[in-house]
Amino acid sequence: MTATIDRGKATEPVTQIPSRPRRSRRRVSSNSLKAVMAVSGAVLVLFLVLHMAGNLKIFAGAESFNGYAAWLREVGYPLLPHRGLLTLLEAGLVVAIAAHMYSAIVLARRAANARPVKYAAKVKSRADGYATRTMRWGGVIVFFFVIYHLLDMTFGVANPEGHEATPFDRMVAGFDPSRWYITVFYVISVVMVGLHLRHGLWSALQTLGLARRYPVLKASAAGLSALLTLGFLVVPLAITFGVVR
């Protein structure tokens, strides 16, 4: 005996949407690119801590500040050549910034590619706030700030005292009360750096798989970012308001 069971529509073959052809070219995984961002970001954070400590020497007077700047160029001499360690560190920073930016650009392009059709309704953010949403454009702004900052303080091109002056004189001239708009620009930029760090610090640990106890982690990230922001802000503000002259 044979039985014919008619299941009707339910068992009819469904027309399959063909899956996209597999990419033949092997790409670096997004996770690996994020790890590159985390490690290069960590290098830059370490640099910022040292940079801030150096800046604060301005409160110990011109001699201390200039002495520190000179020491940076002489450290390790005569074992290392003049400016040896500093050049090495600078090269490391350039590599870190390049790696950080390259990964960010590739990831941003992949993200844009992952959502070709946008939502019609405004997508409501239900999670972390401003700092998280401004990572990409904030990073771009920080990059342009760094370029100006180098022209101002390192190369002296955008500084009234020029390259030949002592670091202390350049610093004091740069944030002279008459150049208050420069100070405002620095304040805004440094706050952008702080926001970038607020998300970046804990995000890096998350990316490397080291994140634990999120409330503590996020609070620490916010605390450290605030500390760095204040440490960097106090110097230009002190000069503009005449505390350091």
């Binding site: 899956s19 996770n31 992949r110 993200a111 059709v117 019609a120 997508v123 409501k124 998280t132 994140a211």
Partner: protein
């Protein structure tokens, strides 16, 4: 109550699609969101129109089929709630509700609000098997599992694969989904032999499908109807990086 709906209508994968406005009267606050759409569809059918296609199955919040972006929030305004468990009492007379499908390249629209989520199936497939004796039932307590691990693994295993994480992610990343699956096996002794290779294969498949990378925004976990926590992603990242270091 009377509502204005703006529903994404798209006749097929190749259609451009558009938001269509519907006025719907006498919506009971006791209706679920999907029942409200059922009523809309009944009226559309009576009027000779094509009903709005949307995915649904269990209607009790456990199958992961319902998938709608409601006013720019995946699964709508209620936390830890699937669309089917969202009720109309959260809306008031005169409200306008915009309903759209999940938006991601790996989730192509099939029709109206229905998207093809087989990219998730392929990520699961990439994970492969786990090495367990599949013959007789194992002895109780033969394999000790710490309570905390059992709880965390279970929490991760509650992922229903609805895709809200992808829909809400500004990067269109499937990290929360993939991480939930990696965590649920990776925390248990049965999942250990293939832990590294599984994490690697699933993460790479996720990229292959065209999902974006994770930027730790936390939007995914905020809309996840099962509240899958962000630490699953940390675990996925750790497993992936460890596996990549080992095998280069």
């Amino acid at each position: 109550m009377n509502l204005t709906l703006k529903v994404w209508r798209q006749s097929g994968p190749d259609d451009e699609g558009r938001l269509v406005r519907y006025e719907i009267e006498d919506v009971s606050p006791d209706m679920s969101f999907l029942e409200m759409l059922d009523v809309l569809n009944e009226r559309l059918i009576l009027a000779g129109d094509d009903p709005v296609a949307f995915d649904h199955d269990c209607r009790e919040g456990i199958c992961g089929m319902c998938s709608m972006m409601i006013d720019g929030v995946a699964h709508g305004p209620q936390k830890n709630t699937t669309t089917c468990q969202l009720h109309m009492r959260h809306y008031k007379d005169g409200d306008t509700i915009v309903i759209e499908p999940w938006r991601a390249r790996p989730f192509p629209v099939v029709k109206d609000l229905v998207v093809d989520r087989s990219a998730f199936d392929r990520i699961i497939q990439a994970g492969g098997f786990i090495s367990v004796p599949a013959g007789s039932a194992p002895d109780a307590h033969a394999m000790p599992v710490p309570k905390v691990d059992a709880d965390d693994a279970f929490d991760a295993a509650t992922c229903i694969g609805c895709g809200a994480c992808v829909a809400a992610c500004p990067n269109g990343s499937a990290s929360l989904f993939t991480a939930a699956k990696i965590t649920h096996l990776g925390l248990l002794p049965q999942g250990q032999p293939e832990r590294g290779s599984r994490a690697r294969a699933m993460v790479e498949q996720m990229d292959e499908e065209g999902f974006g990378g994770c930027t730790n925004t936390g939007e995914c976990t905020a809309v996840c109807p099962k509240g899958i926590p962000l630490d699953t992603i940390a675990r996925m990242n750790a497993d992936y990086l460890r596996a990549s270091r080992k095998s280069g």
